[in-house]
Symmetry: C2
């Protein structure tokens, strides 16, 4: 007899809306009579192998709704990237607890974990339904129009650059803002969404999809500064030279690598500082400032897209519906059906797992340092309602009285 037991977990970097997906799973599962217990694993796959489970059947609907509106991963997350042995340990625990349905909310690495666990269960002839639920601020999952978490982070980046542009207009100089995104430039490109007037920044956008050449960068900055007397620049943390070497590594002495073997690009201000130093030294511009948006762009409490909230809830809800109806494992994907409307599909796990989407060429301008209108049309509806607007005083100059005879 089936156990009616569900397990849900959250993996990878937290987002503003990942708890919506968790709560989507729990509340939808509660509607199905065959579900008897809903477990949550604490800290992702790490909590599974350690049998660190909480009983979400004992949680109230009111508190679930409040958790859904709270950013970060309420169950805790992990950076563990399981290999086959690790996945076998996961499977052993799932078996011991008679889990029938396994839902894992995460990015590329998490989808790959779900794929391996699914294979292990299949090999063992154990009836386990595995569904991956998409989440990543990088927007780099293939097969998805976009991924939950990205719109809210994009909104943060757009609002940050809208404000940085206004600040830079008041106190002119060069401003460099470094944005997360190792391989995919979507989040950095979102900086363009705060532009309103033709001379607004960001004036230059550097994406990991294009090779970064320091000399070209300096020439670009010089030209913008000559034209506007100021320059606002959006830079992806993942920019690299033609050999694929990360620009930040030109500066960094001690390169930290995470458990996935990736270079540690976030959590320090090295790239922004390096670029600012180059601009000061080579272009002789005095006021040059750099910010690294860091963890704020995924964790800031109070900047969220309502469209993102809604869709993050829906992918969790749809994951349960697919698990009960589709009779196969897979990864839930968002597909755009109208402007603006979406539907959800269940893709085969190996169509998504471990693959990386980058910005399509049609989204990047020919100059390589701006986005296209196609990108703006793509992203605008995702940012949600209530995006702040910026107004300027109209220019009504007063005639000089002293003119050239002035005292200073």
């Amino acid at each position: 007899m089936p156990s009616g037991k569900i397990l849900v977990a959250q993996g990878g970097g937290p987002t503003a809306v990942i708890n919506q997906s968790l709560v989507g799973v729990v509340l939808e599962a509660r509607r199905h009579s065959q579900v008897r217990q809903i477990y949550g694993a604490r800290h992702g796959v790490r909590g599974i192998v350690e049998e660190d489970f909480v009983d979400l059947t004992q949680e109230t609907a009111a508190n679930l709704e409040r958790v859904a509106a709270t950013p970060s991963s309420a169950l805790g997350s992990t950076r563990d990237k399981p290999d086959v042995a690790y996945c076998q340990a996961i499977f052993k625990v799932l078996q011991a607890h008679e889990i029938e349905y396994f839902f894992y909310i995460g990015g590329n690495d998490s989808s790959d974990t779900v794929r391996i666990v699914s294979e292990e269960a299949h090999k063992a002839g154990y009836p386990l339904r595995c569904v991956h639920i998409p989440k990543t601020i990088d927007n780099d999952l293939v097969g998805n129009d976009h991924t939950p978490g990205f719109p809210s982070a994009a909104r943060f980046v757009a609002q940050a650059f809208a404000g940085a542009n206004l600040d830079n207009a008041a106190l002119p100089g060069v401003y460099v803002g470094v944005v997360m995104g190792r391989h995919a430039g979507f989040l950095t490109a979102a900086a363009a969404m705060g532009k309103k007037f033709p001379d607004d920044g960001p004036h230059l956008i550097y994406l990991p999809e294009r090779i970064f050449v320091l000399e070209a960068f300096l020439a670009d900055v010089k030209a913008v500064y000559a034209r506007h007397g100021r320059c606002v620049i959006a830079v992806s943390e993942g920019i690299h030279d033609a050999a694929g070497t990360a620009i930040v590594n030109l500066l960094a002495k001690d390169v930290e690598r995470d458990a996935h073997g990736n270079v540690q690009l976030s959590g320090n201000g090295a790239l922004a500082d390096l670029l600012c130093d180059e601009i000061k030294a080579k272009l002789n511009i005095k006021r040059v400032r750099g910010d690294t948006f860091g963890y704020l762009q995924r964790s800031f409490h109070g900047c969220v897209s309502d469209v993102d909230q809604r869709e993050a809830r829906e992918v969790g809800e749809k994951a349960v519906q697919f698990a009960f109806s589709a009779k196969r494992d897979g990864s839930v994907a968002i597909q755009r059906t109208g402007n603006y409307a979406v539907d959800y599909a269940l893709l085969p796990l190996d169509a998504v797992a471990g693959k990386t989407r980058v910005m399509e060429d049609e989204f990047i301008s020919d100059s390589g340092t701006d986005v296209t209108d196609a990108f703006r049309r793509y992203l605008a509806p995702l940012l949600g309602s209530g995006m702040p607007d910026a107004a300027r005083l109209r220019h009504n100059p007063v005639a000089k009285v002293i003119g050239d005879k002035k005292g200073l």
Copy 2:
């Protein structure tokens, strides 16, 4: 015959609400029949000596309201700190344009400029009414309960740490967030306002009002990490050792100074990176991340306190009322009259000009690394309505089945 001409300007670092004060001056001035023209100087005192004026009499009320809701300084700002010769040049231009009323929105340095210009006019026997309107995210003006701009920046810092705490709870480690504030720790202390549960971060807060000792810092972090398995730290950019040397200077090779002779503490990530390196090296903790909030905390478009908006409008409005009624120069100050209510006073310019308020001892805990309840009561009403809340899943653990026999 009086000219009926008003001049208004904005100086120093922009804030989320400084345009409210500008619009407060303009709209209130329009109500007075003796006002015939309202000029705005572009880029503060720099625009005055360069006679770079715009005619705000030609601006619509609708656009003024939209500008008021836009962060940063709509007229432009400046970092120029005028000496007596510069102030004489200012006065010469004001005379040439027959300005009767001069309003300057800014911090300590701006109030000092107003004081000198006021003295020059007095010496020359020219009937000029000079009023300083308070503004600074540092909250360091004496004679004020608080200053416009600070509550919105404090709200950003509180929301940022509320989110960083949730992120750090999901992926445990050490997180260092560096906050603006050269001498006054108010903005850094605002990090505490996002705390809800006893184990929430920030667990440690380092203020410029207390001497920073690296060894004590490392011992504090070690103790918190041992207790909670994680540690969230708020650090003021202005922390210094017993000799008064800024901690960031222990790292920085090239110290940049601004026009006021101050060391450049903002606009780079050096301090956060230095502290993270120390923690990694000395405490052997692997996951250590640092963010420097930088310009986001004063410029982010879409994080504002409605109380701050209202009061920033009122100080501009009151400045005009005082100018017409009080028959003396001065600096508008916010004074708390209830919980929560304020009134406004016109202080003598020399009571405010060039002076710096720091956090009162009653606001800092005996440990020196936390704030007191008195500070929380002080700041809470300023943050405005709609502060985001954070919810947790309640802990309902599931019994282990495999237990110590687990696979990994």
